[in-house]
């Protein structure tokens, strides 16, 4: 019964999308653009502030999922000015504790099209903004909350296919670069400041590989 329902909705989706894609009007230049992406991210330079200092545990927390939201205003076809928000999360646990990482990055963006065909576009974007780090961890069952933040930068490359005048699908590679020198740790009713040595800061850099949709209007 369930399979029949799934097949029905799949055929309905194809029936709606097929003529939309095949007979879609030619995309025309639109000044505004909204986009949302989901995908995989990896903190290539490692991370820190964890409840276990072993390399094998730290590696588990390097990879996680990412999500982005972007807005661009395109004064001309080839150039865009906008804003990017990018989030990341990963989690792991061990015998005496656990860690649940979040990072949130926001930055104004400048973008330029490297390729600008009728339906295909390749765009480069870059910006400088702020990143915030959170770790909701537990040590021997007691809560331990870690926070920190710093200036950060990003560089991204997006390939987009416009299947209608308004809608497109994209694949994106986005690199966010940052590291922090100190964090605040809330534990046992106190806030403790922990500093990292200048040659071993807590890295927040990550590479996002994601896909999603764009709406042009």
């Amino acid at each position: 019964m369930k399979n029949r329902i799934y097949r029905y909705f799949l055929m309905l989706a194809i029936a709606i999308l097929f003529p939309t894609v095949c007979f879609a009007e030619k995309p025309t230049f639109k000044r505004h653009e909204l986009a949302t992406y989901f995908g995989y991210a990896n903190m290539l330079a490692g991370t820190g502030g964890l409840t276990n200092t072993s390399n094998s545990y730290e590696k588990k927390l390097r990879s996680g999922i990412s999500w982005d939201a972007q807005y661009y205003y395109n004064p001309i076809r080839e150039v865009g000015l906008g804003i990017l928000y990018s989030g990341f999360t990963s989690k792991a646990s061990h015998a005496t504790g656990s860690d649940h990482l979040f990072t949130h990055y926001i930055a104004p963006q400048f973008a330029g099209n490297l390729l600008n065909k009728e339906r295909w576009r390749i765009r480069l974007n870059m910006g400088v903004g702020y990143i915030r780090y959170f770790n909701d961890s537990k040590v021997y069952g007691k809560e331990r909350k870690v926070t920190g933040g710093r200036i950060a930068g990003n560089l991204g490359l997006r390939g987009e296919y416009l299947f209608t005048s308004h809608w497109g699908v994209s694949v994106v590679a986005q690199y966010i670069l940052s590291s922090i020198r100190k964090v605040d740790i809330d534990y046992h009713g106190e806030t403790i400041k922990v500093k990292f040595p200048s040659d071993n800061r807590l890295s927040l850099s990550r590479l996002n590989l994601s896909a999603g949709i764009n709406y042009h209007f």
């Binding site: 502030g49 964890l50 409840t51 276990n52 200092t53 072993s54 005496t96 040590v139 021997y140 069952g141 007691k142 331990r144 100190k182 740790i185 534990y187 046992h188 403790i192 400041k193 922990v194 500093k195 990292f196 040595p197």
Partner: protein, 150 residues
């Protein structure tokens, strides 16, 4: 003005020695046997770690973790785990691979019952002692330090 600088500068230097902000006192150090100068334990379920806060001898900051091997072959231990809070005990006749009694257990000036320590390394040449310990409300204790001789 100069006088003020001469008074304040040594004070600031003293205060900067009082706390090592690179030590995370919320994470238990791993059990090691390399003389890494680490000390940690659970007291009432909360993690306490040495190495960050200095012990004070009068107005002079002293080492956070001190292990002294005395003339009666006992190891005197004193560790500052929070500003003004010290855990101290004596390991009786430590020996590598041995289970020893720990006595004179004091936590924040509160006397605790005798406990036990298991010594995983006792190197008299390198002056390294490593092991585990527990006593009443103190458990999951571990240390890996270079000791001094009285």
């Amino acid at each position: 003005m100069k006088r003020l600088v001469y008074i304040l500068l040594p004070l600031l230097l003293l205060l900067s020695c009082a706390e090592d902000e690179t030590v995370d006192v919320t994470v238990m150090p791993a059990e090691t046997t390399e003389g890494l100068n680490t000390f940690g334990c659970l007291i009432d379920g909360w993690v306490y770690v040495g190495g960050r806060y200095a012990q004070w001898v009068g107005i002079i900051p002293s080492e956070s973790i001190s292990f002294y091997y005395n003339e009666t072959a006992d190891m005197e231990v004193s560790v500052c785990v929070k500003p003004g809070k010290v855990i101290s005990f004596t390991i009786q006749q430590p020996g590598e691979g041995k289970s020893c009694i720990i006595t004179n257990v004091l936590w924040d000036d509160r006397e605790l019952p005798d406990g036990t320590a298991v010594i995983t390394r006792f190197d008299t040449d390198a002056r390294i002692i490593s092991g585990r310990f527990e006593s009443d409300i103190v458990n999951e204790g571990r240390f890996d330090v270079r000791y001094s001789i009285r």
